[in-house]
Symmetry: D3
């Protein structure tokens, strides 16, 4: 019977990704390609979250996710993890995870973090975090992190979904494929279309 | 027993708003202040969704919501409704509802609508809608509407939460209380701080 | 990675329909047969909800659903829509949706609508609706609509499930395949078996 | 801390009944009026399910529920139980539980049981059960039981909700308060209004 | 359309077991191998729960489950059933079901039953049950049953998951494959490793 | 309106703890005693997770939780965090969280970790972790950690519930209040009652 469950899970892993978080229906659901018998501790493990990553992108940060796409053992278990590295005065730019609340733990450095509540208040709750400090950003709210120290800042975060999704505001509004009409952003942000065009050209 | 359930619901209505959508535990949970016996059809009804509203705001649109805040009968039932009016070339600016998928139905006019997928694709799926056309924007994705016709445009939308929440991107990133640091947006949008300041001054 | 998610979703669309509403695990899950790259705005759109349908059936009404069976884009998103047309004095007969609350919006005409609470109260909450009025029928409760005006009545409704299910009382109790024993309905409705037989013969 | 959780639960028990089934947030949530310290095994226990009840009502059956209304220990736990007694040729008339699947176990006697699928098939799945037989009626579908033996029939059933709700078809359609218009049922069941009136007079 | 849903469910039954309990998306999801048309009442029925089973194992009890593994009709319906037989002074040893609350009903005999709350209280709630008595063990808590009568004891139980899972404490801690280090259990239970070794040798 | 939601949440915080994880109905639900206006960033933040705690207990480990009991901001958000310190050769003894999957991240030291699958396989999946390694223990399964290095070991863990619950096996089975009968454990673990008595005396 155990083998049958594994076989079912193996096939399920390949064929069916589209269900609800939490409340799993079996212990776990993971299998290596072609051979469901090879389930092992490594399917539930990953390494290197203590190592800072380079931060080569224009905003000065790098995100290293461990979601169900990277670790099959997370399937149906409703949680995932990520490491974020930020260079001095770099930012993890404003973004949202529509399917997960996030808790950050600062491993090193000094970060300003914040989230903004939904309409109509749009209230910013921000705080400066040091090593060992943690902060919760509620599900779906836009949040950011900024390194305000002299050295690199590193954090790990846990998120309440096997696949939380990331919507980076600037990328979505100015870098979509194809572009959204300049007219829309000129109105939404109440600026000239030429400014919108300039911004779009960078994404 | 029915009275007892109503009494419990009445108190629950006042005291406890903080649970999960869907899967209600009773037929419904609604009561007028002070007298649970007065539950009636009006608690489940609202009017006037056929009437265009004025669109006095700078973006040329007006949103008239019917959520659990406006209609107690929606409590625990996981759905709500909204009417949106947009003046010619006005927009319902890019926003997201982190707790709900939305379906729009065009009552009159011609609209361009679209949503953008999450990272890394940020793909825009847009379409021009006429009277009688409907469009689905998946839960948590940023979406917008633009009136591209000569007259007013009116739509009704249903959302899969009693309280879907609205996060209007421009308001959140440029109009939060207090302001987010100009530095963060200059980096995120890769523009001068002076431009960020100009935009913030309008929100 | 995006292609891989699409491929998984495409296969999931074909092979696995049996999971829980709400809390999706990805932006959406839709694909055309044979080619997951062809996801497009049309997968999230449908048309013609402003057009009255003929009402040729004996009860004088016609229901035009847009559920996940008709629109793949609704998969995992927990919502669907329907148009209902009712001829003068026709009815949308008493029925229930066990998986969804429903909100109707009257597009034209005058309707009497109502739902009945569960045991032991079985209280009817009914109301007369005009154009622009809306009404909520809580999940699982039996409800009906009757055109009490002089012209056709048209409504659209949103339902909180991608596949709400319809259980039309008269069809289920008198028109099942095979028939339920006459004896059961004679007892349940406290009438002669000959009357039960007459009613069954019409379904 | 334990006392605090109990106090919170005690108040929650009185004030807030309106949340979702399953996925509890604490071991359990139960308290006696006025003193949360008195939680005990009796809050999770009930007796007498082996004893046949009289079946005095017109349909020849009696239902003895043990839901959260009767046993506080069931709160947030998503399950309940019921005993059903049916006199020879009596019936448990067609009804539905919109919030629960039901499993019956026959303790004594011989029963015909069945459920009918939703539209458009309305297929009856029925079976004759003896002592020790069990049968599953899926969530929301209309089902019934009929004693077809010479002695009394007794069953216990488990339901997947702390408060499954009961919608007895005949009571709802012919016995609501106030009555539904005769015209509606004459159309829905395609019979004379006089027959509808006769049936209504019995409920 | 009905056939298509069945085909989808049939394939789903084979390929995808990994989703959440409750809130089904269709009436049910069951099919015989190779031919989805053969859905029938037997897919929702099982027999023999009135018959005592032998209790040949060292603890003097036998468990006869009816979960989704044994009865395809339970798929997506969030409930299952089990019969437990216990010889005089035999036990159903301490175990937990992490995915389900359980309700027992005593069919014959006299049982001591109990569950223990989580940290920090670890309070035992126990009770002696006779024929016709029922008892609820909340989701995830460790519980046991002991026959304290002179004859056999038989109970049926309903559980709030199609696949509740069983974690028998002694088997897991002393009988895992491979063994957990003796050192861990010597520390955890504060006994000599030689005692741990003796216990492990029996599992 | 925002104030009203806060007031409702404030009262809800005090009176109603008993609902389902995830799928919040508002941005968050937190308030200081007596004054809902004082919501602030500190309600979402905690400190000191980088600091090793003393490990004075007999098993050589200390657990420092940050759940909803400690941080009101976690309410309705379905996630929590914990720091675990283990002295050399100390253990975090076998235990389970019935409401949450757990991910550990090793901050310092060398740990052996493992979880055991449910019946009938009871398969141990274990692994040695170094600084920067992470490991997932699926919801409800019994797991443990052992420091096998020369210095202290420190980990942080995220759990998918605001209140995951802890069931430490040894404490529950040998240290419940009141004690479980020796006879039950003698049978369950297949040892002499005198050994059971010795073990019970230590808890």
């Amino acid at each position: 019977m155990a083998k049958r469950v594994l076989l079912i899970c193996f096939l399920g892993l390949v064929f069916a990704f589209a269900s609800a978080d939490h409340s799993p229906l079996q212990d776990f659901c993971v299998a290596q390609a072609g051979n469901p018998k090879t389930v092992q501790a490594n399917d539930f493990s990953f390494s290197g979250l203590h190592l800072p990553e380079n931060t080569p992108n224009p905003v000065g940060s790098e995100v290293t996710p461990e979601t169900v796409t990277h670790l099959a053992g997370l399937k149906t278990l409703g949680i995932s993890m990520v490491r974020i590295d930020i260079a001095p005065w770099g930012i993890n730019p404003p973004h949202t995870h529509s399917r997960a609340t996030e808790i950050w733990l600062v491993l090193e450095g000094t970060l300003e973090v914040g989230f903004i509540t939904s309409n109509p208040d749009n209230r910013l709750n921000s705080k400066i975090l040091q090593k060992g400090d943690a902060f919760v950003s509620p599900q779906g709210l836009i949040h950011y992190q900024r390194n305000i120290g002299f050295g690199n800042a590193g954090t790990v975060a846990a998120l309440g979904s096997q696949n939380p999704g990331v919507i980076t505001i600037a990328n979505v509004v100015f870098g979509s494929m194809p572009d959204i009409s300049k007219d829309i952003f000129a109105k939404a942000f109440q600026v000239d279309k030429t400014i919108v065009g300039k911004i779009q050209s960078k994404f």
